[in-house]
Point group: C2
């Protein structure tokens, strides 16, 4: 760049002008996911599980009055992980929550104010642990997703408001079945957050198949029926009981506790047990 010669790293750094590159801002956005239980009315039936995510209503520009994922700018002395955990703590008042980096979005115009690159995270919580501790503008939305060859049609519902958006996908790479995603319809969500939601749902769907990630959304004690319901609502398909029990057999531990009162045979309560290492 300039012609000056340096003889050591120290000398170079002392002289370094960090303003030669135009800088930008970064945010961390967090997709907080959980499962809720809804009464069915029939005393015999189990509660119905719904997959849900946490959104926050914006009361400032940009995107005033739209919904968005919890997020915020990262400090100059703060890592992305720390920022994500800070935001998560603010939003839920909980620590020790499962959190994982998803993807970094960097479209030039994704924020109308200025250049902002955002790294997205996903977090999983057991909703029972925090239902009353939510920050004031936050609300849980049940998620209904229909996926076809070309697009995702998503409906979010918090009981009083409905949000719909459509994300289209175009094949990016033949060898790994990766897609480029594009927001085709979106009225009520801020920024590119529909893309974050799709990424997170896909990541969760994949990981539930080959990891024990699901237990991050479960209470300490649960029945196998409840666990199966959570799998089914995430994978969006019915599973056969015996097959399901085989799959999770070595991930859970039977306790002496029982769940009764359901108008049907009571169920043993189980605990998560880390899969035995081969």
């Amino acid at each position: 760049m300039d012609g000056k010669e340096y003889n050591s790293e120290e000398e170079f750094l002392k002289d370094y002008d960090s303003s030669v590159f135009e800088k930008l801002s970064m945010t961390a956005d967090i997709l907080i996911m959980s499962v809720s239980s809804e009464e069915t009315g029939n005393y015999r039936k189990l509660t119905e599980k719904k997959f849900s995510i946490l959104l926050v209503k914006r009361d400032n520009y940009p995107f005033k009055d739209k919904w968005c994922l919890p997020g915020g700018f990262i400090g100059i002395d703060e890592t992305l992980d720390d920022a994500a955990k800070r935001i998560l703590k603010n939003e839920t008042n909980l620590k020790n929550i499962y959190i994982e980096q998803l993807y970094t979005f960097s479209d030039v115009k994704r924020d109308p104010r200025m250049r902002v690159v955002s790294t997205s995270y996903m977090a999983l919580v057991d909703k029972n642990r925090l239902n009353d501790k939510l920050s004031k503008n936050a609300s849980w939305f049940n998620v209904f997703m229909i996926e076809d060859e070309k697009s995702y049609h998503v409906t979010l519902d918090n009981g009083s408001e409905e949000i719909k958006f459509v994300v289209t996908k175009t094949l990016r790479d033949l060898t790994t079945d990766r897609y480029d995603f594009k927001i085709a319809k979106n009225d009520k969500l801020a920024f590119d957050h529909p893309l974050v939601i799709i990424s997170g749902l896909e990541r969760l769907k994949n990981k539930i198949e080959y990891t024990d990630i699901v237990f991050n959304m479960m209470p300490e004690y649960f029945t196998l029926g409840e666990l199966q319901q959570v799998y089914e609502v995430i994978l969006n398909k019915k599973l056969l009981d015996p097959a399901f029990r085989r799959i999770i057999a070595n991930k859970v531990e039977k306790t002496s506790k029982m769940k009764t009162g359901g108008g049907h045979r009571p169920s043993a309560l189980f605990k998560y047990k880390r899969k035995s290492n081969e």
Copy 2:
């Protein structure tokens, strides 16, 4: 923040002072991976495949004279993907290369000059396509990795120079077997690039099992023996012929071409064929 009330997004944006948050710089770093063939001396034997990555020798501070991954700052009007592709093009003179975002690293002190967040990418190339087109400071290093319970021991070798580093891992999350990585020993690589290398190798190892990603490193025509060698060098274990052939049977297409001259039975040449959809 300030008390002023805005009535529209336009009005707000016009007034917006983007300097309220301290900004930072971002880079894209690319782990370019390939496989090289080395003669064995024995006319009967196949060439031996080695897994290799591309490094660049730095001739400026910081980390002057150390090796690093190809990378660079992103422009204020450039996405991370575009920056990664630009850097890849600079380095290899090739377009249409497989590239995939890996992870975003944001340690506060990862760059001694100033705060720099880096999004890493991995790219796969067929080395035969570009061996002569490399940029001047670049060099291919063969990769030897030993992994145990607690750490990765990696040796890189380009024929004239050897780079060794150690990365330790500590379990981060019981449910998904994720680890926190830390550089325990590293003399010759700049920045946190050992972590990028580990991430990329792990990602590739996983994806080779459930996608067709390997074909991005293969020439158009190849024998099944060569393909198997590539699998073996990436997975770092021997595979049984019949099992391997079953696995890749519906991913490849036999051509009428043959590879002869090996001092042994000639082999049919195959082409990649996208797996038949069920």
